[in-house]
């Protein structure tokens, strides 16, 4: 069963969170993400959950982690300035392996920037915004439908892999209204709980799956959670061999699951001489430009990373021997990942950072120039 409705990306994101079983939201109002908080404030108490408007962005991230430790699926939503403020605690969630979802509806920056204008300039912040080596899962929806489905996916990844997952939206998909099918019965993943009694529970066990089972606070498994580098028993350690073992597991834990984590879409690639690599809102005008270019006989295809971190480099490597065009609403962030695969020679950029969406005709013009 599913229901088709006209709604905004932010609303679809909130609906996706509810479908995933979210029971806690902490946030602080910020354009252009605020609708997510407003919907959560209305709907969470109706389903037995909790909404709390915190005193700031930092506290919101902290409260989300605290709530998740009690077993609640927990969400926060923000935009650039707030995303910056949350970074330390996002790192805490990643290092302590507490599942949660952080939505960043990107707006133009830097600093306060252009609060009501779109951008895709937080791509690197989503990957490396918090200090230290760490894994990252970052999803990039390009339609309202995907805001719904990927929010469910984000919770599933967070719960399965015990990490903070970033939903990297942008002002366009956040505020755009289009048809969305609220698909029911999407697969829902819940964190794996310990199957051993408390006296045999090893909270940060270095097991083969690299994902330790997670006990919730208050369920009889008393353990320590700390942002200090810790041993398998959860207690802080300064021993290089113990620290090294923990960090090796933490930073490699997603490697075993890349085939499921890395999501992408391909279109018209079989005969393509030029591959447009586009994500989020920029994939929309790119599709239109590709259709127009093909009418002119220009063989252009689309590779759209849906998971932008870990970047699907293995997939893109299969497209060798062609040229690439990477349009982005930033000064060139994800393009570096394409260049890592092929080198800069046949990788072209198209960038816009003035808060205006890149238009199909601009991209078509660039396609003509590159293929001339």
């Amino acid at each position: 069963m599913s229901e088709a409705r006209l709604m905004q990306g932010n609303e679809a994101c909130a609906e996706g969170a509810l479908a995933a079983g979210v029971r806690f939201f902490a946030g602080y109002p910020i354009t252009p993400s605020t609708e997510i908080a407003e919907i959560m404030a209305e709907k969470l108490p109706l389903v037995g959950g909790t909404f709390i408007q915190m005193e700031d962005e930092i506290g919101s991230m902290a409260a989300v982690i605290g709530a998740s430790l009690t077993g609640a699926k927990a969400l926060t939503a923000t935009s650039g300035p707030g995303f910056s403020l949350k970074q330390e605690n996002i790192g805490f969630a990643i290092a302590t392996e507490v599942p949660c979802v952080v939505v960043d509806v990107q707006r133009a920056g830097p600093s306060t920037g252009l609060p009501t204008s779109p951008a895709q300039a937080d791509v690197m912040q989503a990957r490396w915004g918090t200090h230290g080596d760490h894994p990252a899962i970052v999803l990039s929806p390009s339609s309202v439908q995907e805001c719904y489905e990927l929010t469910v996916q984000a919770f599933n990844f967070a719960e399965e892999f015990r990490t903070a997952v970033i939903m990297l939206m942008d002002e366009v998909v956040g505020h755009l209204r289009e048809k969305v099918e609220l698909i029911e019965n999407l697969p829902i993943v819940n964190r794996k709980r310990p199957s051993v009694p408390p006296d045999r529970y090893i909270p940060y066990e270095n097991n083969e799956s690299r994902i330790p089972d997670m006990a919730n606070f208050g369920e009889g498994y008393r353990y320590h959670v700390t942002g200090l580098t810790h041993a398998e028993n959860g207690l802080p350690t300064g021993k290089p061999e113990v620290a090294g073992k923990f960090l090796a597991r933490l930073t490699s834990k997603l490697d075993l699951y890349l085939d499921r984590i890395q999501l992408w879409e391909e279109a018209e690639l079989s005969d393509a001489d030029l591959v447009a690599v586009a994500y989020g809102c920029t994939a929309r005008p790119v599709r239109e430009a590709i259709t127009a270019a093909r009418r002119e006989g220009l063989k252009v295809g689309l590779f759209r990373p849906i998971t932008i971190w870990p970047f699907p480099a293995g997939q893109i490597a299969k497209l060798g021997g062609r040229s690439f065009l990477v349009p982005e609403m930033n000064n060139g962030q994800l393009v570096g990942e394409v260049e890592r695969v092929f080198g800069p020679k046949n990788v072209h950029r198209y960038n816009r950072i003035d808060g205006e969406l890149i238009t199909p005709s601009e991209i078509l013009e660039k396609i003509r120039e590159v293929m001339a």
């Binding site: 037995g48 005193e55 506290g59 982690i65 709530a67 009690t70 208050g218 008393r222």
Partner: protein, 268 residues
């Protein structure tokens, strides 16, 4: 005797990291004795800490324990309590957690009157980083970042908490450690945001720069300057101990539960 309370400790995590003469262990003992007296279910107790010497307490205690980021202990604890109100949540903070970087969370946890028991270990200094002045360092006292004496005046945490909406506030010292246990019990029993200021000593980073030759001198100073509230006016450098304020106000998680139930009845 340690054996009376050893069941509440992760003995494998001991010995602790605190310097000889430090007061934090005394506060830890008072907290554990309070929990024992209250006969709380160990599985239902959560202890949250921030960053600094005080924050290491959570590693030694056998409860659900959470050692968070600097200043954010109350915000993490707010998430825990709001999501699962049946848990008994204690929050242990130092000068910086409560009065500096975490000052905003301190004010707003008090304003919400959320049912947390907050213990601020006030040792007048940043100890972990080696003795820099804190917002609780008294005027004129010396620290590595106030080498000529502190020009600033210390924050009155209990007054701030009361003004912000907390419903219980008390102060005790590591010298008055039985009183400390008692006020922690009272703080827990208050259904709302409760603050206990535990005046403590840091002989290494504060004492030796401020003419306290030994830890015992610092405890003697506490004994001589702590005045039970209500007995007399306080003089220079003296401070009140005991229950400082108590009030009645709606508690956040109970109000939220009422909202859920109202909505279930279809009343918006």
């Amino acid at each position: 005797m340690f054996s009376e309370i050893s069941e509440y400790f992760r003995t494998e995590a001991l010995p602790h990291i605190w310097c000889p003469g430090c007061g934090i262990g005394t506060v830890m003992q008072a907290l554990v004795r309070a929990i024992k007296t209250l006969q709380l279910d160990q599985n239902n107790v959560v202890v949250v800490s921030g960053i600094g010497c005080s924050s290491r307490m959570t590693g030694y205690l056998d409860f659900n324990t959470l050692h968070t980021t600097h200043g954010r202990a109350l915000a993490f604890a707010t998430g825990i309590k709001a999501a699962k109100p049946e848990l008994d949540v204690f929050v242990v903070m130092g000068d910086g957690d409560a009065a500096a970087i975490g000052g905003n969370h301190f004010i707003h946890a008090a304003r919400r009157n959320i049912d947390l028991t907050a213990i601020v270990i006030n040792n007048s200094i940043y100890g972990m980083t080696g003795g820099q002045s804190s917002p609780l360092t008294p005027h004129d006292k010396r620290a590595t970042t106030s080498p000529y004496g502190n020009l600033e005046r210390p924050l009155q945490l209990l007054a701030v908490a009361q003004a912000a909406g907390a419903t219980y506030g008390a102060r005790a010292t590591t010298y008055h450690n039985q009183l400390l246990t008692k006020v922690i019990i009272d703080a827990y029993n208050n259904p709302g945001f409760s603050l206990v200021e535990a005046v403590s000593q840091c002989p290494v980073s504060y004492g030796r720069r401020n003419k306290f030759k030994t830890p015992a001198d610092m405890l003697r100073w506490q004994k001589e300057h702590g005045v039970m509230k209500g007995h007399k006016e306080i003089g220079d450098e003296e401070f009140f101990i005991g229950e400082i304020f108590r009030a009645q106000a709606p508690e956040y998680t109970r109000e939220y539960e009422k909202l859920r139930q109202r909505l279930q009845r279809g009343q918006r």
